[in-house]
Symmetry: none
Subunit: 444 residues, 2 copies
């Protein structure tokens, strides 16, 4: 099955709304083994919607539309889709009765615009909408019109969905996805898996796995996705078997083999798989061991605490933190010796160590972690340029240590990268991973 | 100017990453008066990228691509764009020198893959990237190839951007948008302006401005865009004049008149315009008055400190904060009386007031602000359900006060909404805005 996503609405194009529907649909389709060939966003005009359908069916056998199904004047999707497939709109008695009942209960007349909700293209199936008034629609051509997809035997299919994300998801889960699974052919041929890495840039990662990358089996591929938390490495495998179950087994076996080869080379940089968040992974490691953490943040300004408290249950391992922006806060709240600040400066390994120890003692935590640096864009010197950070770590049963790193010129990006370095320092300490030199984490 | 957005990357299609770039670019282009005709997401293959360019130029005179510019083997954009316009790739000496200097400083050899970053299509201009190694690219055809756009006189234009959102934004702000403004024709017929409001829900806002909304001049419109910082109100006006300058003047005059009518009704909820951030607005108010602030955060877990330190120069007014997750931290670090906790509970106006006072005293700041609440999803009780927060404010020359609010069931959303309530409480106190009851800020 080859699927194409068609989002309809001016509000998406001019950035009033971010299109979260396409990401959700893409993920669901990929998980069921469909190929997602492309996606478009088009305007609320009949010509733009029609062209979107034409372009979609040039490369796919199913097009999923979102948006333009409600009761307002710019809701053209149904009309254009009916016209595209050469069928008429008919009033659907079931929908009309449901609408009338709803308005009768609330003691109002049915507005004229709402009556259009009951119009359905002839021969289209309704996809129940448990959370809204506009149902989804499904249609499959009976004969020709199929695209070049190898596996496709049926005709072209269209799934017409509401634009409100909650409604779209419920319609798809309740009936859209089951219908596609039942009708779709060639599913499960392609499978994906993601390894989440941090503390290493894309180019170094590539260097370390180049022998694997140059020796991939047919249908296997690797892709690198940099973010402020590190680089995600996406593994893809394509199966040859014919039966649905065999094919899925084969694709998963190929992914297992590929993952094993990659982990042998870059395992220590891999903090998780799939959608794992570094902060949740670190929190889980602490919780498993009954350990706690406290923070002393200067350069990250509270972001590390914010990230650690994003996970439900964080209070089991997160004791608290001090955002010590002023030097006075470093000495009074974190017991950093004024002599340390004077001899080494606020941005120094010595200060970072003292801050980490101060946080650990102040909160009575197992671990104390700290950041002190220059987020920028101003405040840099020759000795301590913008982007410099010292990350300190005071661990149970050993003294404090610190590492000095250098990132970018951008304040907000630096805060993200500094906080990632703090979390990764903690992860490595907990797991006893030998120190590997940190490098800039988001080059591209 | 008619613009088309082309997002490149399998990771977007299969839902690993939500495409926030397209929304941001669409908004920026609309704000400068360009028509955004459509958007596509395509795979990481030469054929898909080429087809994307062809489809984009069928309807637009400028195509903006994002993604596929980093140093790995799946970064094909540059190659395909060069081929599309019939030019060769050349090594750019400036970029190569910058890369070599960077690697020299960090004492490493330049990896082979990184060298490809220095390849630039002949005749393309570089768009400086202050936060990464891959610059953006700009190209304008000198003669034919123009589309059906009325206003367009030049040739087709392409803007090639990095996929990492922070980098893409910085490249566009620094050089991409100014370049398009300079080259674009037919801009300025439609003008937009945004009023940023907070502390009021969309439906109440609508109610307060309904007489204005029902009496808009031809070509004027209003749109409501809820977010976790409040509701943005977008004003649009269309000009009739023909000359570029006259047209822009006319559209701006229409917006001025509309803004004045709206401010008369909802002025006290308006904290800024355009892309103003609440945290930067509050920081500016403090800086102007020579005041400082310190925080005591429980329910927001460091997010309020993180937001206040996002702005460069925050050290002038932000003294620091304590993230007091455990009760022990509230008593020991913030001097909350154990009796207060016992009598009123950790989530109470009394505790919020004591925390705010504790932060103010501990850091010697003008203002102390606090949050204590239940972010969820667990930990709620009948008396203190999930979503409850108490925000405390200790101001100069007056006692502390606190307000109790209730938001959603979602932990991460609650942290955002709680921190917005804290910042807005401070803004109102500084400006002496009479207390208006806070309401839930983001319904969706």
């Amino acid at each position: 099955m080859q699927a194409h996503l068609l989002t309809i609405g001016d509000e998406i194009l001019i950035g009033q709304t971010t299109d979260s529907n396409a990401a959700w649909l893409g993920e669901q389709l990929a998980l069921m083994g469909a190929d997602v060939t492309g996606a478009q966003t088009v305007r609320d005009t009949p010509a733009a919607i029609r062209r979107g359908l034409e372009r979609g069916f040039e490369e796919a056998d199913v097009v999923l539309t979102t948006g333009g199904l409600g009761p307002t004047h710019d809701d053209l999707t149904k009309t254009v889709v009916a016209d595209f497939f050469g069928v008429e709109l008919e009033q659907n008695a079931d929908i009309m009765e449901r609408i009338e009942r709803y308005y009768f209960q609330t003691d109002r007349d049915v507005p004229e615009a709402v009556r259009s909700l009951a119009a359905v293209p002839a021969g289209f199936d309704l996809l129940e909408n448990p959370v809204g008034t506009a149902p989804g629609l499904f249609y499959e051509e009976t004969s020709a019109g199929s695209t070049g997809s190898d596996d496709s035997q049926g005709g072209r299919m269209v799934v017409v969905l509401p634009g409100v994300p909650q409604e779209m998801k419920r319609v798809m889960e309740a009936s859209g996805l089951p219908r596609l699974r039942e009708r779709g052919t060639g599913l499960g041929r392609v499978a994906h898996r993601t390894l989440q890495t941090t503390g290493i840039v894309e180019s170094s990662l590539q260097e370390k796995v180049k022998d694997v990358a140059s020796d991939l089996a047919d249908g296997q591929s690797l892709a690198y996705l940099p973010s402020t938390s590190g680089v995600r490495l996406r593994l893809t495998a394509r199966a040859d078997a014919d039966g649905d179950a065999d094919r899925q087994d084969e694709a998963q076996r190929k992914l297992d083999a590929l993952e094993e080869r990659l982990r042998a080379r870059i395992g220590k940089y891999v903090y998780g798989t799939g959608g794992d968040e570094l902060e949740a992974v670190v929190g889980g490691l602490l919780a498993e061991r009954g350990r706690t953490v406290a923070l002393a943040e200067s350069a990250t300004g509270g972001l590390a605490a914010h990230r650690l408290t994003q996970t439900s249950g964080a209070s089991a391992y997160f004791q608290g933190g001090i955002v010590a922006y002023a030097n006075r806060a470093k000495t009074e709240l974190l017991s950093v010796e004024p002599a340390t600040l004077e001899a080494h400066g606020a941005v120094s390994e010595a200060t970072a160590r003292a801050m980490a120890e101060g946080a650990r003692e102040r909160f009575g935590a197992s671990y104390g972690l700290s950041t002190t640096g220059v987020a920028g864009p101003t405040g840099g010197t020759d000795a301590t340029p913008v982007g410099t950070v010292c990350v300190g770590c005071a661990a149970p049963g050993s003294g404090a240590r610190a590492v000095r790193l250098r990132f970018t010129q951008d304040r907000q990006l630096n805060k993200e990268l500094f906080s990632t370095a703090l979390l990764e320092t903690l992860r490595r300490d907990i797991l006893g991973i030998e120190d590997v030199s940190f490098v800039r984490q988001a080059d591209a």
